[in-house]
Amino acid sequence: MDADKHFIVGVFDDEEVLLKGIGKIRGNGVKIHDVYSPFPVHGIDDALSIKRSRLPIAAFMFGMTGTALALLMQIWMLGYDWPMIIGGKNHASLPPFIPVTFELTVLLAALGMVGTFFIASDMKPYKWPRQFDLRSTEDKHVMAIDLAINSGKTKDELRSLLRDSGASEVNEKSFE
């Protein structure tokens, strides 16, 4: 059986039950593929031992790129390409460049973050994201367990473990 293809899917009604269930399931040595929730659940990152996102680092890099680009652009435009005297200041003077630099820093950081987030979350435009259960966008918390990775346990064992942990429904889902 290939990994990342066949899953057992537990559906939870309540986030408190879900948080306790995650602890129980992981305590039994089962690796959880991922959990999908309609809203942010406090403490779920710790419960799943998810490492902190590196998105802020990307944001910083994009921001710095914006700062550098903005300064280079303005110094080149107003200092070399088309020098203009405005208010008797030097052609390339720093203070009037700051607002544009600030705006470009924010713009590139924001757009870069959005792009990075989409790519990192597997939401590329040419790829339709996998849905384990559509109700995870409505009112259910959905937990996916990869069967291949947890081959130490049988399907029935996993099903009953999910039931015991508070899942209101247990399904199977396979992707091509």
């Binding site: 406090h42 802020p56 405005i86 208010g87 008797g88 200041k89 700051i98």
Partner: protein, 468 residues
């Protein structure tokens, strides 16, 4: 959620060792102050320009030439200095060292007034915003508010002492249309200080505002504090006092919105009487506010270090750190908003303010250090999440911000009085140490007289579960 947590009341004990250390700090401050005063008096005897390099002097001359044609005030100062040398102090202004002493006293009092009033402002914001996360730490800013009456008495008392040297507009000759000193610009602003009395007499409007501001601040402080402490005496969690405190807070915020701006014009901007900036009220508020936030954070961190405030965890520290980070940027935004417009418009009456501070010897390094300490360092050091959650980093950045903004206030006030004879020396540092020890003694004593958090606060439970 979890069952209701019942918390034991916690009290801060102002230990004699800490009190002794603060007194030692105070004594060192007095010694440094005395040394500074002695040095200032001695350098006076050796000529007024002692200690200025030739380069600095050249730029001073250049600016003098520039400003003299633009600003009657500077011209007046020049003649004052000349008169001083020839006639031996016949002019109404004091010796340079006296002016320097008055300037640093006034500057430190304005700075520490800010720390006190920001304590109350922080508490009021938390009530008005119905914030839950901060309910465990609100007593620390509340204790800072205890400084308000002392600051008020000092401010009113000091004013009568320093007015002739700091506040150029307090000279009656400026308003005498036939006199040699008549200044049409200051005369136009006279009503703002002297109404309803005649210009050049007693500044009734100015003094009235000062008294009313401190009076109302103290009154609001008393009301909000009363509600917070009565809440402790209630049998259990109650919203009665919280609602009343929120009402007082809202009215206080309305009052503070006006009074903070007007006090900035009165106590700081009117020193450079000819100059004005529509950003100034915000600018001084921003400086006060971020200093206050850094001070609150620092006290919380030290209390936690001493084993108090177990209910405060990394999440609350993170929020305080974000406050300092965000408002360091806010201050920079206001700073730049004021600077850029004046820089670009290039109107001489406005530009002179920055030429004095940015391009002349004693203030230039402070002008740039100000940006470095108050923007670059907090911005870079506080950028990551971990930096704001760990006490070590908070202990590094918060003092930088406090010292940085002290220099900011120094540069707001000193150049307008001392012109090219000012500077940060033993006198200024000693005065700051004396004020800091007095402020700490008042605040920590007030803190030790009340529980460290309100155990009946309706949002304490929320604060315990605060998670970001």
């Amino acid at each position: 959620m979890a069952a209701e947590v019942h918390l034991q009341e916690e009290r801060y004990i102002f230990k004699p060792t800490l009190r002794r250390n603060i007194f030692i700090f105070l004594i060192i401050g007095v010694v440094v102050f005395g040394l500074g005063l002695f040095l200032a008096m001695r350098s006076e005897g050796q000529g007024e320009a002692a200690g200025h390099g030739t380069k600095g002097h050249a730029s001073v001359e250049a600016t003098h030439d520039m400003t003299a044609s633009l600003q009657h005030e500077t011209q007046d100062e020049d003649t004052a200095a000349d008169q001083h040398k020839t006639e031996g102090g016949a002019h109404h202004e004091s010796d340079s060292w006296v002016k320097r002493l008055f300037t640093t006293l006034w500057m430190n009092n304005v700075f520490f007034t800010g720390l006190g009033i920001i304590g109350l402002f922080f508490v009021a914001i938390q009530y008005a915003a119905q914030a839950g996360w901060s309910s465990g730490i609100k007593r620390i800013p509340l204790a800072m508010g205890s400084w308000i009456p002392y600051a008020g008495v000092l401010m009113i008392g000091l004013w009568f002492l320093v007015k002739g040297d700091l506040f150029h507009w307090s000279h009656s000759g400026l308003f005498d249309a036939n006199g040699p000193e008549f200044d049409p610009i200051i005369n136009g602003k006279g009503g703002f200080f002297y109404w309803p009395l005649a210009k050049g007499t007693f500044p009734a409007f100015f003094m009235g505002r000062m008294v009313i501001f401190f009076g109302m601040w103290f009154l609001f402080f008393t009301w909000i504090k009363r509600e917070m402490l009565q809440e402790d005496l209630a049998g259990g969690v109650t919203t009665t006092h919280w609602l009343k405190a929120r009402k007082f807070s809202t009215w206080f915020l309305l009052f503070f919105a006006v009074s903070s701006s007007v006090s900035a014009w009165d106590w700081v901007m009117s020193i450079d009487t000819h100059w004005f900036s529509t950003m100034f009220g915000w600018y001084m508020f921003a400086s006060w506010w971020v200093t206050g936030l850094a001070f609150i954070t620092l006290v919380v961190v030290f209390l936690k270090d001493a084993g108090y405030l177990k209910i405060v965890n990394a999440n609350h520290l993170h929020d305080l750190g974000k406050f300092v980070f965000a408002f360091s940027i806010f201050w920079t935004y206001i700073w730049f908003g004021q600077f850029l417009l004046i820089y670009y418009a290039n109107i001489p009456e406005e530009t002179v303010y920055f030429i004095e501070r940015m391009k002349t010897a004693p203030y230039s390094w402070i002008f740039f250090a100000n940006l470095f300490l108050n923007f670059v360092l907090p911005f870079l050091l506080f950028m990551t999440r971990d930096a704001k959650r760990h006490m070590t980093m908070l202990k590094v950045v918060c003092p930088i911000v406090i010292i940085g903004h002290w220099l900011d206030f120094f540069n707001m006030i000193t150049p307008g009085v001392m012109h090219f004879e000012g500077g940060v020396g033993f006198l200024e540092i000693g005065t700051a140490m004396i004020f800091m020890s007095a402020f700490l003694l008042v605040v920590l004593t007030a803190l030790s007289k009340m529980p460290l958090f309100g155990k009946n606060h309706p949002m304490l439970e929320e604060s315990l579960h605060h998670h970001i």
